[in-house]
């Protein structure tokens, strides 16, 4: 008979892996939408490169989740066959590519968080999570450099680029607090010493992000209204459209393979 305590621990680990992995999957999908549509060849290539890095990290996480899943799920099942409420990504990453300022703003606000998370996760006693983070952090440091360079270039650029960058930061700011919201799986895994207490680097996050914004001639939003829900599966209106596109092939031709 399976030990219910071990089962519970596995379920928490499974959910914990998805909490991290789904952010990368959905952001990779958003960036993938820009393939062939970037504002210049170089930014197009850069954004799809970042998308590919994130997708690669997602695959490593899902492969791990598939291995410990009790229902014998595959990596593809996890990525493509869940319903909206089962995706654990934060609201920030599902926000649309409204204009280049939003693409950069979303990336910038996520990259700083992502980097700090990887910094901690690479020391997790869980060997697989630690290996993915050690590999991932090298890639994320590039993403972070790319997005903060662009925030500076646009913020400290022309009147128009400053206006658009500020608009994006103002709009996306309300999704930042959720990054530090802890789900039950996160609380449990952090209690086990395996997961990361994300709230522990919240202050550092806002400090570093604000420094870049100031350096970029941008105003740090003072808005105290924050919204959350994605990490608990309650997504914004954009999520359904993302999933419709992401899941189309598997839903239309079940079990198809490349």
């Amino acid at each position: 008979m399976p030990n219910p305590l071990i089962q519970m621990k596995n379920q928490n680990l499974y959910n914990y892996i998805l909490t991290i992995a789904d952010n990368s999957l959905i952001l990779a999908q958003r960036l993938g939408e820009l393939c062939g549509h970037g504002p210049s060849l170089e930014t197009d290539i850069a954004l799809t490169n970042i998308s590919l890095d994130l997708l690669g990290q997602t695959r490593s996480y899902y492969q791990y989740a598939a291995k410990i899943s009790e229902e014998n799920k595959s990596e593809d099942d996890i990525a493509l066959l869940r319903i909206e409420r089962e995706y654990r990504n934060c609201l920030l990453v599902e926000q649309p590519n409204t204009h280049f300022g939003y693409v950069i703003g979303r990336q910038f606000l996520f990259d700083f968080y992502h980097f700090m998370l990887m910094e901690k996760l690479q020391n997790s006693p869980d060997e697989i999570l630690s290996a993915i983070a050690k590999k991932g952090i090298k890639e994320v440091s590039y993403h972070k450099r790319f997005s903060s360079d662009w925030v500076k270039r646009l913020g400290d650029g022309t009147e128009e680029s400053n206006k658009k960058m500020q608009e994006a930061i103002n709009d996306l700011w309300r999704f930042t607090d959720e990054l530090f919201y802890m789900t039950d799986a996160e609380k449990e895994m952090s209690k086990e010493g395996i997961g990361i207490e994300v709230s522990s680097f919240k202050e550092k996050y806002y400090k570093e992000v604000s420094e870049v914004l100031k350096e970029s001639a941008l105003t740090v939003p003072e808005n105290k209204y924050f919204t959350k829900g994605g990490k608990e599966g309650v997504h914004s209106e954009h999520m359904g459209y993302i999933l419709a596109e992401l899941q189309y092939m598997q839903r239309t031709y079940p079990n198809m393979e490349w």
Partner: protein
């Protein structure tokens, strides 16, 4: 099981491994690239541990298929396992591999601190693989593949790829 930085490769498997190359940089064998971390034959099956250069590197699937094909030609079965730790580093590319890469038109990775300087546009250190000048500048931190950045030579005006340092 932990893998040390030095790969564990059975000597008699080397000739076959040398025939399999990175699909993005065909002059570079998987051995020279340093992505083969272990290759051992046991009970008639060649077991290979492969590590990706970047997490999303699409070449991994192709390399894995090519390894199977190369060994099947000499009647051997292959099992490929993808390992992530320790993470691949550009230090694992062999000197011969670096030379071939340069001849192919890709500038070799600089040391970690120099790499940072050039990617931040602070110093001109990347050597143009066409004319050898270091009067070059960064066009984009992201190039044709995840592992490369795009540069341009200010002397011969040729654009070229630079293999980013990864440590």
């Amino acid at each position: 099981m932990t893998l040390t930085e030095k790969p564990n490769i059975q000597k008699d498997l080397i000739p076959v491994l040398k025939t399999v190359s990175d699909p993005e940089i065909p002059v570079l064998s998987v051995l020279a690239l340093g992505v083969i971390r272990e290759a051992i034959e046991a009970n008639g099956i060649v077991k290979i541990k492969l590590t990706p250069t970047y997490s999303g590197c699409p070449a991994m699937d192709v390399i894995s298929d090519d390894l199977k094909k190369a060994f099947s030609e000499i009647g051997k079965k292959v099992e490929v396992e993808l390992v992530l730790s320790p993470a691949w580093s550009t230090d694992w590319i062999s000197e011969e591999g670096l030379q071939k890469m340069e001849e192919y038109g890709i500038a070799r990775p600089l040391s970690e601190s120099h790499d940072k300087d050039v990617l931040l546009g602070e110093k001109k250190l990347v050597k143009c693989p066409q004319c050898g000048s270091t009067n070059t500048h960064l066009v984009s931190q992201f190039g044709s593949t995840a592992c490369k950045a795009l540069f341009k030579c200010d002397d011969c005006h040729e654009p070229f790829d630079y293999f980013k340092c990864l440590k």
